[in-house]
Structures are given as C-alpha cells and as structure tokens.
C-alpha cells in the first residue's frame, strides 16, 4: 500500500489538485496570442453570490463577479 508515497510539491504545500490544475490552465491562457487570449479569459469569467443561512435567514452574501463594472 503506497500510503507513504511521495506527494507532489503542491499537495505538500496544502493545495488540492483542482487548484493546481486551474492555476496551470490560467497560466497557459495568459500566454496566448491576442484574439485567443481575450476569448479564453472571457470564457472563464464567473459571477456568483454566495450566502450562508442561519436561523432561517440569509447572512451577508459574498459576491464574486468578473463582469466588467457597469
């Protein structure tokens, strides 16, 4: 059983695979030539609002938006 297998450096630093993979993908996107770069960065924009609930009421929402401010 490989329970003592060597872990990748990013996991040893506390990063999960998804975080690692997303960072790699972002770096690649930033290295693209112009029309492709703008397209790929636009494709990855997110916009969401997250609120935790307690006692049946929504607490202060966390808003994450990459949409250009209007």
């Amino acid at each position: 059983m490989a329970s003592t297998a060597a872990v990748p450096f990013w996991r040893a630093a506390g990063m999960t695979y998804i975080t690692y993979s997303n960072i790699c993908a972002n770096l690649v996107r930033n290295c693209l030539k112009e029309p492709h770069r703008a397209e790929s960065l636009a494709r990855e924009k997110v916009h969401f609002s997250l609120s935790k609930w307690a006692d049946g009421k929504a607490q202060k929402p966390v808003l994450r938006s990459d949409a250009p401010a209007v």
């Binding site: 993908a25 770096l27 690649v28 930033n30 030539k33 790929s40």
Partner: protein, 203 residues
Amino acid sequence: MFKQASRLLSRSIAAASSKSVTTRAFSSEVPSTIDSTFVESWKKVAPNMDPPQTPSAFMKPRPSTPSSIPTKLTVNFVLPYASELSGKEVDMVIIPATTGQMGVLPGHVPTIAELKPGIMSVHEGADVKKYFLSSGFALLHANSVADIIAIEAVPLEHIDPSQVQKGLAEFQQKLTSATTDLEKAEAQIGVEVHSAINAALSG
C-alpha cells in the same frame, strides 16, 4: 416465522458466499449470472417475494475487450468547454504523462495517467496534430478507447513566445522572493508551466 427465515437465509448465504462471492472480490468482470444457489435458497424460504437484487445487477456490463487488438485507437479528447475529438479513430497518440511522454497504441494496457503541462500529439496516417495541454488525465481502456481530459488545450501556433518569456522571468523572480509554502508552490507551478511551454515551442 420470519426470524426463522433470516436464520436459514444467513446460513445458506454463508454457504453460497464462501464458494463463489469472495473469489470475485477484485475481478474486473461484472458477473452476468445471478447466484443461483442463493436464489434457490431464497425461493425455498420466501417463495412469494422476489430475491433482492445486488448492486451488480444494476451495473451495465463493461464494454468487452476485443479478442484481437484493433488496428485503430479511438480517441475522445475533451475540455470543460468543448469536445475537441469525439470518437476519432487514430493510429497513435503521445501524451505528456507525469512519468514522461507516453505513446499510446491500440491495445495499450488499461492505464490511468495523470498528465503534466506538455504537448499531446495525435498521429493519423501522416498527419500529426499537436496541442499544448495545461494538465489533466488520460484514461486508457482495454478496448482501445482513450479518454483524454484537459482543462486547456491550445495549438502551438496560438502561443505568444514573448508572453511566455515574460511569465517565466516573473515566476522565477517570485520563486526567490516567496515566503510561505503556498507562495513557493504557486511560483514553482508558474516556473514549471512556462518552462514546459518554452520547451514545447522550441522542441
């Protein structure tokens, strides 16, 4: 009456399981036959109830491994936002696994390979198509189907070399000035990805 039933049933299950179920513990074949001894014992004890189904009864059988190695490899290459290749029949793909460039031919041993940032090339006759993958996984199945999953895959022509050099210099600088483990890891990832792109552009 039902207490008796469960006692008799557990005895007959134990008898049946010691013969057949335990030996199938790690088999990769889904048993297509239902355990007949169990069904018979069940019918003796509870003839009006259907025997319970086991999880294997709900599983679809695995696609069968052809007895002779197929001539072509079927590749499914997917990204989160697009399906680059879907069921394409090719001669060979070379994938950038963490253990090095891996050539996949039809009949490759079933493998799950983690991919590192690098070039994947798809060979079809004399055509070779190359993509730079950011990272991902390659699932190679026994029936010569390869599922390759990546988050970003770009043709080499779409990459801007000057941006790559800038990025490499920036992350090398960050690596020397990093303090926490996390910063060091991020800088290290930056250096690795940019070096891989550099190698891909020049190689």
